[in-house]
């Protein structure tokens, strides 16, 4: 093994095999990020691509960066993305209507041209040999990085601290909301409820059917109609109330019909065409 060789021109076969397998997956993940209709799928595709990049870092002798990539990118940044997707993106449907005519095709053309430019540029550079990190990593990758960070790049490293503090303060300022009035206590709320007199007891519980106890199924009132009050106000505002009363009635009717045909109370040739027409 030529660890301390000055220059080499090929990597090991194992690394080449790993590259060709994982590079395909990485590109597929990147395409999935761009083309997925749902934001969550995009985030997961991107997380997969990032993990593969971490493997590439490890294969290229950047051991510290490989671990940091997994911890920081897939661990922290992608989880932050998923948090925001849960907070924002699920209900925010991405409209697929083009607002600018032909913008998508122009963008794809620009991307293609840019890619050809980049790849042709790399192809024209004379990069036949590479030095390899054997010598630089001889005293340990982390030690080598630490030596550089705390000598040559110490100023940039200190500026990084200022940047992180600024980012934290900025995020807090941006997402903080000042309350304009005092939050009403439980006691005040109960007094107000009795004063108003419209709904003094607790609201009815959702979903009292035998087969549906989900929170988006409204409960039944004694007269058989559904009570919208039994569904959470958020779901009501979104219009996500699932009315299954007709479904339950249809199920019941079907059950009765089947039991009747089982008991041969009605002629089977009457029920058969009905079932065929369903």
């Amino acid at each position: 093994m030529s660890t301390f060789a000055a220059a080499a021109s090929t990597t090991s076969t194992g690394e080449a095999f790993q590259f060709w397998v994982l590079a395909v997956v990485a590109v597929l993940g990147a395409l999935g990020t761009v083309l997925s209709k749902k934001t969550v799928h995009s985030a997961l595709c991107l997380a997969g691509t990032m993990i593969i990049l971490a493997v590439f870092y490890l294969a290229q002798g950047a051991y510290f960066l490989g671990v940091v990539q997994i911890v920081v990118y897939t661990g922290a940044i992608m989880m932050l993305f998923l948090f925001v997707v849960m907070l924002v993106g699920i209900t925010a449907a991405d409209s697929l209507k083009e607002t600018l005519k032909g913008q998508r095709w122009l963008a794809a053309g620009c991307g293609l041209g840019f890619g050809i430019l980049l790849i042709a540029g790399i192809g024209n550079a004379s990069l036949d040999t590479f030095a390899g990190l054997g010598q630089a990593n001889a005293g340990g990758n982390v030690e080598g990085l630490a030596r550089l960070i705390f000598t040559k790049y110490v100023w940039a490293f200190e500026i990084t601290g200022a940047l992180l503090i600024t980012a934290v303060v900025g995020a807090m300022v941006l997402t903080h909301r000042e309350r304009t009035e005092e939050r009403s206590t439980q006691r005040e709320l109960s007094i107000a409820r009795v004063r108003a007199g419209t709904q003094v007891p607790p609201l009815p519980a959702p979903g009292v059917y035998a087969r549906h106890n989900a929170v988006d199924v409204p409960g039944l009132l004694p007269d058989g109609t559904t009570s919208d009050l039994s569904v959470s106000a958020t779901l009501r505002d979104r219009g996500q109330i699932r009315d299954v009363s007709n479904e339950a009635l249809a199920d019941l009717a079907e059950l009765e019909q089947r039991s009747e045909s089982w008991l041969e109370r009605s002629a089977p040739e009457v029920t058969a065409p009905e079932e065929a027409s369903k």
Partner: protein, 99 residues
């Protein structure tokens, strides 16, 4: 295989990310594509570090990661604030300053 293939992969990923920024209009997905571009740059830096046989490229990739983390925090906070004020994460809806 020559490590220059890693550079080709980085260029491809960067291009896909750039096209995604231009094509998609959901702010969160646009932001993810920016992250993809940053990652592609990091891969190129790590490969350059290996080609030149010193660790400076890895240091720059490390600083890129730090800046990306700070950028994600602020960017996602901006997206959340935008969503709160106009109930949409589409970049087309942010046209308050349009005449």
């Amino acid at each position: 295989m020559n490590p220059v293939n890693y550079l080709y992969l980085a260029a491809l990923l960067f291009t896909i990310g750039a096209a995604g920024v231009l094509i998609r209009r959901n702010a969160i997905i646009v932001f993810m594509c920016v992250e993809l571009m940053l990652n592609a740059c990091n891969l190129a830096f790590v490969t350059f570090s290996r080609m030149h046989g010193n660790l400076d490229g890895q240091i720059i990739a490390f600083f890129t990661m730090v800046v990306a983390a700070a950028e994600v925090v602020v960017g996602l906070a901006i997206i959340v604030t935008m969503f709160r004020s106009r109930h949409s994460a589409s970049v087309d809806d942010a046209n308050l300053m349009k005449l």
